[in-house]
């Protein structure tokens, strides 16, 4: 199976929902090792995404993802806005010409997304950022041979939780050096919700 425009729209709306429900939690993750705005930033951005995509009619997922990217870039700000924006923009570029997001192209989409984020953020794996969810997810999708809705969220969750043990070297959390250990990275948490939403949409499509 694959995500067509309708399911991809549903994916974004679910992300929006999850972020709104967890807005305070995400912000609270950003307080001890950041500036306490991550949930606010992402909620503002995905609300705009949701408004935007509700008003449009997309012919393909690439167009949809591009709008998501541009909205995040122009409505979020901070570190997360341009970084998630870049991730979705890169996914959109890879998705160009495909009707759906499916297991064949998702690995490449995520791979490009990670590369884009790394370049923009001048960061690599293991620096306690959202990369530490996205990059393991690339590895995961490489490992499996089809969408397994039941696994995706769990994999993302594991990766998110692993950020707890990392000492931050990029982003605001880096200012806290050793003290950043023991806290989940907020951007990683948001990323987890994105993959959790993806797994739910895939599961719904399997029925």
């Amino acid at each position: 199976m694959g995500l067509q425009v309708t399911e991809a729209v549903e994916w974004m709306k679910r992300i929006n929902e999850k972020i709104h429900i967890n807005k305070e939690y995400l912000t609270s993750l950003d307080q001890p090792i950041g500036d306490g705005d991550h949930g606010i930033n992402m909620a503002r951005g995905f609300q705009e995404v949701s408004n935007k995509i509700t008003m449009e009619n997309y012919e393909n997922v690439a167009e949809l993802l591009k709008d998501v990217a541009m909205t995040l870039m122009s409505k979020v700000g901070g570190a997360s806005g341009p970084l998630f924006g870049t991730a979705f923009l890169k996914m959109s570029l890879v998705a160009k010409g495909s009707d759906t997001i499916n297991h064949d192209n998702i690995t490449r989409m995520l791979e490009e997304a990670v590369n884009g984020v790394k370049q923009r953020g001048k960061a690599v794996e293991g620096e306690k950022t959202l990369i530490d969810v996205w990059s393991p997810m690339v590895e995961y999708f490489k490992r499996v041979d089809r969408f397994k809705a039941g696994e995706i969220a769990g994999e993302a969750k594991k990766a998110m939780e692993n950020t707890k043990d990392i000492m931050a070297t990029k982003g605001r959390a880096a200012y806290f050096k050793e003290k950043s250990i023991g806290h989940i990275d907020p951007g990683a948490a948001t990323s987890f919700y994105m993959f959790e939403a993806l797994s739910e949409v895939i599961k719904a499509g399997e029925k």
Binding site: T27, Q31, P32, I33, G34, D35, G36, D37, I40, N41, R44, M73, S74, K75, V76, G77, G78, A79, S80, G81, P82, L83, R120, G121, T169, K170, G171, R172, A174, Y175, F176, K177
Partner: protein
């Protein structure tokens, strides 16, 4: 949370409108943006100076717009870097053909968003240069990490880049002197209380009545070290010595900034200043000019920072050059 606002979601927009309404002869708001520019922008044959960042640092950055200082200030949501499209609007509005110079504080978000704007502007044929300010000695300087934050010392960069631009300096000349200021400015801050991001509605961290945070940034983030509350003199000593240990200021002429973070009575800033001046005198460092007040704030955070800028003749003369910016008139 008690704040004099109407709605956290509209605070940024309304603040920007309130700034524009306060100085209608000096500045204007670019329609449908959070960008404030000099009324006469673009100033012909002058490099445009653009700064900005999250809001909540007022009078930074819009208060520094004026002849001899900034041409534009871009405000993001509270403590959140503005988006590239907003920065791009600012760049376009102040470019007179001589190029635009960006003063960026070293935060991942600011750096990325301003960089993206610069790329977009260059794609439109505007020459853009930038400096990244990282004066905060609380954070270790390292090329493997995010590196140091930009805090109150940024105001000196605004002033001096603005002065040379006003005198007709080229984009490269502006860049060179701005880089010199960045190399020569160091700061260190501390806080007695946290602050409340309006949209969050609660303090970013909690401090007990006998605690203070040393090495604080300007975004309501916790400091590097939590300590027992000390006297003004001990605080001044700790901040100043941290700064002096980081860079050799001996035998130098310096400019001093004792900056309030938002809720510190000016009385306390002057008490700190007394100690700072004594400490510098003891070390044989000559204070050329002192600034005491709120220059780079963190909403209603109580606390202060101390910045030192090492001066040479060029920087002295640029520091003394006329500025009509409401928050830094010289």
């Amino acid at each position: 949370m008690k704040k004099i606002i109407n709605n956290p979601d509209r605070a940024l927009q309304e603040m920007v409108e309130g700034i524009a309404a306060a100085y209608p002869n000096e500045v204007k708001q670019l329609p449908e943006t959070t960008v404030i520019v000099r009324k006469d922008a673009p100033v012909s044959n002058k490099v445009g100076i653009v700064s900005g960042g999250g809001s909540g640092h007022e009078p930074a950055h819009a208060g520094y717009i004026g002849k001899g200082m900034l041409d534009a200030a871009v405000s993001g949501e509270v403590f959140t870097s503005p988006t590239p499209d907003q920065v791009l609007e600012a760049i376009k509005a102040v470019d007179s053909g001589k190029g635009v110079f960006l003063v960026i504080k070293n935060y991942t978000g600011d750096v990325i968003n301003f960089d993206m704007a610069a790329e977009l502007a260059e794609a439109e044929g505007i020459e853009v240069e930038k400096v990244v300010v990282n004066d905060d000695v609380a954070v270790e300087d390292s090329s493997f990490t995010t590196g140091r934050r930009g805090i109150a010392g940024t105001v000196f960069v605004h002033k001096i880049a603005g002065a040379i631009a006003e005198q007709g300096g080229s984009l490269q000349e502006v860049k060179a002197v701005a880089e010199k200021v960045v190399e020569n400015v160091r700061s260190m801050g501390m806080a007695l209380t946290s602050c409340i991001v309006p949209a969050a509605g609660k303090p970013s961290f909690q401090l007990e009545d006998n605690e203070m945070e040393i090495g604080i940034g300007i975004h309501g983030e916790p400091g590097i070290e939590r300590k027992e509350m000390a006297t003004a003199h001990e605080i001044a000593k700790e901040l100043t010595e941290k700064v002096l240990n980081d860079r050799d200021f001996s035998e130098s002429d310096v400019a001093v900034m004792v900056n309030g973070l938002g809720a510190t009575p000016e009385m306390e800033l002057y008490i700190v200043n007394k100690s700072v001046q004594e400490i510098l005198k003891e070390k044989g460092i000559k204070v050329y000019k002192t600034f005491v007040g709120e220059y780079m704030t963190s909403l209603e955070m109580a606390g202060c920072s101390v910045s030192l800028l090492k001066l040479d003749d060029e920087i002295k003369s640029l520091l003394n050059a006329e500025s009509s910016a409401p928050a830094f008139r010289i």
